[in-house]
């Protein structure tokens, strides 16, 4: 139950292509997160699956049956909208009942389902209130409840947390994860927030400009991003990118030249790494250490501190490497002054390399 298969799905609004042939296989019971910057087509894709947008070509199949010509109402899916889209003139109970009444369900069963969902989401005290009398978090629960009572084949959630304040977002996120574990039904979740994606997803689908950039588990994406875009998008703060040229290649390692003519040795078994090739070197801020000057040659790079943000548990350093900005996050508290020179140690850091097209170069040891 709840398998959704997209085959070469395309969508254009007039002359503008929004989705360029999406292929995706969502397994039953999986929580898949569509993530990407705004305008990447993730919401359009979700609405296409829901049946709210007609696709231009391709096929959408639910549990093996093509649903291209099935209306939104009959696809058996339920959706939680970004604005919650609760009917403002109906009580919470009527909001939950509306969809069930439309499918001519017996009154007793409607009542039973509402009671059950209300208990699960702890919204029993508000059942007779109107949405306007509820707080943002309560409305959010009602919106989820409206989806739950339908017992849908799959849940579609369109940025459901974006209207909540930061604190509530964290707790609701955890509740959503628990809910998914409990219901064990397919969920497709759209967000532009990669933290939500990382914490919730079984699998993440990264979208950009109407194309899938990468599909994989959160840690796959974090550890082996398929391209520069995914590498930059997943992880906070963003990965540092440095333009580099391969100076020499040995079977055990390569040496690259960084801005400011610094040399850096990277352990590598890479094939296809050619001397003189231009590559982009990526390293996450958390993976950079503070060198003491005694670190081995070619394993650290000198930089100048521009700004220090002491957060207590960690220290964020904005550094300058021959005009390139570098961000470093180190644990603990450090006495550093802007303007001072430091050594950034990359000896322990996983180094990502991307070719000129931005694709990942495998060079793992």
């Amino acid at each position: 139950m709840g398998q959704i298969k997209l085959t070469n799905v395309k969508k254009s609004f007039g002359a503008v292509d929004v989705l360029h042939g999406i292929d995706l296989d969502i397994r039953g019971g999986e929580l898949v997160v569509f993530v990407g910057p705004s305008g990447c087509g993730k919401s359009t894709l979700l609405r296409a699956i829901a049946g709210l947008e007609k696709i231009t070509s391709g096929e959408i199949a639910i549990d093996g049956k093509p649903v291209n010509d099935v209306t939104a109402a009959d696809r058996g899916l339920a959706m939680v909208f970004q604005s919650y889209a609760l009917y403002p003139h109906m009580s919470v109970r009527q909001n939950l009942a509306f969809g069930l009444e439309n499918s001519k369900m017996p009154k007793a069963e409607i009542k039973e389902r509402i009671t059950e969902a209300a208990r699960m989401l702890e919204i029993e005290p508000y059942l007779e209130r109107r949405p306007g009398q509820l707080s943002g978090g309560q409305r959010q629960r009602v919106a989820i409840g409206r989806a739950i009572v339908r017992r849908p084949v799959a849940f579609l959630l369109d940025e459901p947390l974006s209207n909540l304040d930061a604190e509530l977002r964290v707790s609701t996120r955890a509740e959503l994860a628990a809910l998914h574990a409990r219901l064990a039904s397919t969920m497709i979740y759209v967000t532009h927030d990669q933290v939500e994606a990382m914490t919730l997803a079984d699998r993440i689908v990264v979208l950009r400009a109407g194309r899938i950039e990468q599909v994989g588990s959160p840690l796959d994406l974090y550890n082996t991003p398929a391209n520069r875009f995914v590498a930059g998008f997943i992880g906070a703060p963003h990965m540092n990118f440095l333009q580099a040229t391969i100076a020499s290649v040995t079977p055990e390692s390569i040496v690259v030249t960084l801005p400011g003519d610094h040399r850096l040795e990277i352990p590598s078994k890479g094939s296809g790494l050619v001397q003189g090739a231009k590559v982009t070197l990526g390293v996450r801020p958390q993976h950079i250490g503070l060198g003491s000057g005694t670190t081995g040659a070619n394993q650290s790079i000198p930089a100048r501190i521009r700004l220090v943000e002491a957060l207590g548990s960690e220290t964020v350093i904005h550094a300058d490497l021959a005009g390139e900005k570098m961000l470093v996050v180190v644990a603990g508290q450090h006495r550093l002054t802007p303007g001072a020179d430091i050594d950034l140690s990359l000896s322990a850091a996983p180094i990502h390399l991307f070719d000129e097209k931005g694709l990942r170069i495998e060079h793992a040891v």
Binding site: R47, A50, G51, L52, T71, A72, A73, D74, L77, A78, M79, F81, Q82, S83, A85, L86, Y87, P88, H89, F98, G99, N102, S103, R146, R150
Partner: protein, 350 residues
């Protein structure tokens, strides 16, 4: 007390009356008299007897001469205060007037007629409301029927306007379809088409459809108001599309979305349009005058205008019926004024 007055007469600032304060209060008090005065005058006049209406100078409140029934006379006689030659005053009833003299009797002693100069007598008058001005026209002039016709036209036209306009506004605000911008263009372009520009061909169309001398001929041309479609559409545009998507996911049909989701949420705009429609249709004059030529079909406005255009205007009836015609609008004004003023301020329609 002094404080209240101080609050009501708030001034521009400072201790002295600025000239703008004076202008303000002259304008406000003058406005009060000029705007309400005529209507009050109409109401007071409507309770006067025909005789009192013909008097000059008129009294403000309705006074009527008092009458008494005197033994030996069939008809009631008018009572006068009379100054007798000996300087005493007495209440006497007038039997008849002969030239400059009047033959009078004392109601207590009807047997002895007294001759009095007409300059020495003054009618005894008391505040009295000629309510028969209100009751008789219903019998004589079919005013009940006119009232019924007006109510029918107003209610039907308003109901149809609300349904038809809201449906069109729903289509124009929540659907993408070919010809939508064309339909919008037509509606905007005809916002200002007045009846006077199309009354000749419209009349022939009404006649062709057999709606001449038919209340539906009055109703139908007024119901598809571009103004109504326009304000409802503007309002519906503010209803989030996600609500409609949500309803579609909830297996609602488009018709259900229209009447269970969109209509309830458009209630404020519908209320404004309903109030306006009631006032417009109740007040309509020229078109009903053209379409309705049979007496029993007249609306109040037409009936009033026909009777007031007669050679011998029976003002005592006309005035009272004018008051009756005014009542619904005044009620709307008193209870729904806030709606109307904000409606006009927001949309600029009348």
């Amino acid at each position: 007390m002094g404080r209240t007055i101080g609050f009501i007469l708030r001034r521009r600032g400072g201790k002295f009356w600025h000239w703008t304060d004076i202008v303000t209060w002259v304008w406000l008090i003058g406005g009060l008299l000029i705007m309400f005065g005529p209507a009050l005058w109409l109401i007071f006049s409507s309770f006067k007897t025909p005789a009192a209406l013909a008097e000059f100078p008129p009294s403000i409140l309705p006074y009527a001469s008092q009458q008494v029934t005197v033994q030996g006379y069939d008809k009631p006689l008018v009572l006068y205060d009379v100054t007798l030659p000996d300087g005493t005053t007495k209440k006497l009833a007038e039997v008849r007037r002969i030239g400059l003299f009047s033959q009078m009797v004392d109601p207590q002693t009807p047997g002895e007629p007294i001759r009095v100069s007409i300059n020495d007598r003054k009618p005894v008058r008391a505040l009295s409301f000629a309510t028969e001005n209100y009751t008789e026209p219903f019998v004589h002039f079919d005013f009940f029927r006119y009232l019924g016709n007006s109510v029918f036209v107003t209610v039907m036209a308003t109901l149809i306007t609300l349904v038809v306009n809201s449906m069109a506004a729903f289509a124009l605000s929540k659907y993408e379809f070919r010809g939508r911008s064309f339909a919008m263009l037509i509606i905007l372009a005809t916002l200002m088409v007045p009846l006077s520009v199309i009354m000749v061909p419209l009349y022939s169309i009404i006649s062709t459809l057999g709606l001449f001398n038919n209340l539906w001929g009055v109703i139908l041309p007024t119901v598809a108001t571009p103004t109504g479609v326009f304000i409802l559409r503007q309002y519906m545009l503010t209803i989030p599309d996600e609500l409609i998507d949500a309803a579609r996911m909830d297996k609602a049909s488009e018709w259900q979305i229209y009447w269970r989701i969109v209509l309830p949420l458009t209630a404020p705009a519908l209320a404004v349009l309903a109030i306006f429609s009631v006032v417009w249709r109740w007040n309509d004059f020229l078109w009903p005058l053209i379409v309705l030529s049979r007496k029993e079909l007249y609306t109040l406005q037409v009936g009033l205008s026909i009777y007031s255009g007669e050679l011998n205007v029976q003002w005592h009836f006309i005035l009272s019926m004018t008051v009756v015609t005014m009542i619904p609008v005044v009620l709307v004004f008193i209870f729904l004024q806030r709606f109307i003023t904000t409606g006009i301020a927001g949309t600029g329609l009348k």
